[in-house]
């Protein structure tokens, strides 16, 4: 790896991308996952495509109900057996996960592709010693004998920063704090040195002070083992300096996808901007109200026609409510978004007739102008940006 001298958590996206070798480790194409319920079919993931290169970090960001958790489970194939319909392809390391038999999946799960769960309080078996919960996959996938597995488990516990791991291995989850449990979970997920780890809101259930520790630990281990990580979170702040690339999801679809710096410096989709604005800042005056996105994500059984974010979007026009914007690129090919009136320098290209024009002044004044590369957009007449090949 070329960037080993980089401080943890601040890996430059462009460098990593160029350092990553040829083919992506994971290719997801047009993935759909829906659940049959008594009310109707819930389209939790509705046509999602992306790629992850070996050793890199992809952030998947969205509100609760945006389909990000289902997306991560769908990629793994780790879905309930009944009442679930999944289509599309997931190619992991050249193999099609969607066509794998149960036995093939089991040989991949835990060994090459593993998962860190959201809630360390519920994701560890309460009546099994933590050592056992680690050795289980070691013995299954790496054919270790009991002794060797026990020894490796202790080493793993040590590597995730559990003090006196020999004793702790004999403990039960209830004897550990939340942060310690999440460390145990990471030890379990990394036991067999997987090539891709799905971390589904790995720090949501933890104290803020512990969150950073866990994320740093994960970044450390990722660098040492050259793992790819998909970091699923509702908090853009979590992925801001940890992900190489970020996908923003809304109502089961990708609404914006870009390398991290580009996403922050040249936000195109009003939803992404709204998510950014909802992060509280130290520079905000004391007593400033938190910015929230009004309303709720749409019903995934009957999603609205047009842009799914339109009902909550302050810039929404008639066109937004009528037809759905496709994912497209403007300028650089690695930045895609779905918006008829993408933001330019944090300002909407929607016709100014809208009553929300005042809000625009609140938008980011600190946007880095150098990041905006496209000069061919003509926002003045309110016409949509010319659609480009994506």
């Amino acid at each position: 790896m070329s960037q080993t001298t980089e401080p943890i958590g601040s890996v430059s996206p462009s460098e990593t991308a160029s350092a990553a070798d040829g083919k992506p480790l994971l290719i997801v194409e047009d993935l759909h996952t829906s659940f049959r319920t008594t009310r109707g079919t819930v389209r939790a993931v509705d046509g999602v495509s992306f790629e992850v290169r070996a050793g890199t970090t992809l952030g998947i960001v969205g509100e609760s109900g945006s389909g990000k958790t289902v997306l991560s489970r769908s990629v793994m194939g780790l879905l309930p057996v009944r009442d679930v319909v999944r289509s599309g392809t997931v190619i992991f390391d050249g193999r099609n996960v969607t066509e794998m038999s149960d036995a093939e999946l089991r040989s991949v799960w835990g060994a090459e592709l593993s998962m860190i769960f959201q809630d360390p309080m519920t994701a560890l078996n309460p009546v099994k010693r933590i050592g056992r919960q680690i050795t289980e996959s070691l013995r299954l996938h790496l054919d270790m004998d009991k002794k060797e597995a026990d020894r490796t488990a202790v080493e793993l516990l040590r590597s995730v920063g559990i003090p006196s791991p020999e004793q702790r291995a004999k403990w039960y989850p209830f004897q550990l704090s939340g942060g310690m449990r999440q460390r145990v979970m990471i030890a379990i997920a990394l036991a067999c040195s997987p090539r891709l780890v799905m971390a589904d809101e790995p720090t949501t259930g933890l104290d803020v002070t512990v969150q950073a520790q866990i994320l740093d630990l994960l970044a450390d281990l990722q660098r040492d083992r050259h793992m790819a990580v998909i970091l699923v979170t509702h908090d853009l702040g979590v992925v801001a300096n940890r992900a190489d690339e970020i996908i923003v999801m809304y109502a089961g679809r990708i609404v914006e996808r870009a390398p991290t710096a580009k996403l922050f410096n040249d936000t195109k989709m009003p939803y992404t901007q709204a998510l950014m604005d909802s992060i509280p800042r130290l520079s905000d005056p004391s007593g400033a109200r938190l910015t929230a996105i009004g309303g709720r994500p749409p019903d995934l059984i009957n999603p609205p026609t047009g842009c799914r974010f339109a009902p909550r979007c302050v810039y929404a026009q008639d066109k937004c409510r009528e037809s759905e914007p496709p994912l497209r690129t403007v300028g650089s090919a690695d930045h895609t978004f779905a918006c008829w009136y993408p933001l330019v320098d944090g300002v909407s290209t929607a016709p100014p007739s809208s009553t929300v024009a005042v809000d625009l002044t609140l938008s980011k004044a600190t946007t880095d102008p150098s990041a905006t590369t496209q000069t061919d957009t003509k926002p003045a007449d309110g016409a949509p940006v010319a659609e480009e090949q994506s």
């Binding site: 793994m76 780790l78 999946l105 089991r106 040989s107 991949v108 799960w109 835990g110 060994a111 593993s114 998962m115 769960f117 959201q118 809630d119 519920t122 994701a123 560890l124 078996n125 309460p126 009546v127 099994k128 289980e136 996959s137 299954l140 996938h141 039960y172 209830f174 979970m185 379990i188």
Partner: protein, 314 residues
């Protein structure tokens, strides 16, 4: 762990004391007395007084209680006013019969309920599940006094596979004894099967929805392994608690079955003694049954500490 068990043992002692007081008071608070059974309704008051003096029933209640309890510590539970059999003898002959009945019925109940629940829980709401749940409902609705005559009619009278009544001591012939015990055991096992099956099934289904099961799947474990190594143990809590109460209730609750199959258990002796105001027999049996009940809860609590490590901490 040791501390926890010691605390439970202390509780057991206190409960046993309370039970002894209650068992004693209960019979004495019942209207009527043993003189009616012994002397008949037409005897004189004088004779009655003599009898009371003989039996020690003329003394104040608290004195009678102390006499009774002191004797217990010497292994003497007194004797029946009517046939003068020592209460300990009634217990030692009757209790093993009930114990055997309970053990056989529970073995049957667990070996039907648990495998069935394990199979069904993996695919709930399938035809097998619907059928089993309906059957379990039916079994629950059928008390032993309905099940027993039907079974006697079919398996004893009709098919002649098993004897309709009677009992052979275990010491005399093991197979003969078992042969006589099958039908009575089946008669009381029905309710247990239904309760155990329904509890274990729903707990298993709930456990299988837990995050840690998805976590186990994500490790690449087989369904079989997940079922046995991850889902089984955390799903047994309600089953254990229910089994404790159920087995306890069966100790003195097998009266109907004992009566129908003419088994010499203590349930039958107890009911008879209550009718005849045979105080010492009622007291003795109640005390032993109650202590057995508490002991079973104690054992269940102990099993809990093994099954669920979290119990010890609280």
């Amino acid at each position: 762990m040791g501390k926890y068990l010691a605390r439970r043992a202390a509780q057991l002692l206190v409960v046993s004391f309370i039970i002894s007081v209650l068992a004693f008071l209960l019979v004495h608070l019942l209207p009527g007395d043993p003189s009616v059974t012994i002397l008949g309704t037409n005897d004189t008051e004088a004779n009655r007084a003599i009898l009371f003096k003989q039996l020690g029933l003329d003394k104040p209640l608290w004195q009678q209680y102390i006499t009774w309890v002191t004797a217990i510590f010497h292994g003497d539970l007194g004797q029946s006013y009517l046939n003068h059999l020592p209460v300990t003898q009634i217990l030692t002959t009757g209790f093993p019969v009930d114990l055997e009945l309970i053990v056989i019925s529970q073995i049957i109940a667990f070996s039907v309920a648990i495998p069935l629940a394990l199979v069904v829980a993996r695919k709930p709401n399938q035809p097998l599940d619907t059928a089993s749940s309906t059957a379990a409902f039916g079994l629950l609705a059928l008390p032993p006094f309905v099940v027993a005559p039907i079974m006697v009619a079919v398996f004893a009278v009709g098919l002649g596979w098993f004897p309709a009544t009677g009992w052979v001591p275990l010491t005399q012939s093991f197979t003969e004894n078992l042969h006589h015990m099958i039908l009575p055991s089946l008669a009381i096992t029905a309710g247990s099967i239904a309760v155990y099956y329904r509890l274990f099934r729903s707990d298993l289904i709930a456990t299988l929805q837990e995050d840690f099961i998805t976590m186990a799947r994500s490790k690449g474990l087989t369904n079989r392994r997940i079922m046995w190594r991850h889902a089984f143990r955390p799903s047994t809590f309600s089953l254990l608690a229910a089994a404790g109460v159920n087995i306890g209730a069966l100790i003195a609750g097998t009266f109907v079955v004992e009566f129908l199959f003419a088994l010499p258990g203590i349930g039958y002796s107890l009911v008879q003694a209550v009718y005849q105001r045979d105080y010492l027999v009622v007291q003795g049996i109640s005390l032993v049954v109650a202590i057995a009940f508490v002991l079973i809860q104690f054992i269940v609590d102990f099993i809990f500490t093994v099954v669920d490590p979290r119990v010890v901490r609280e």
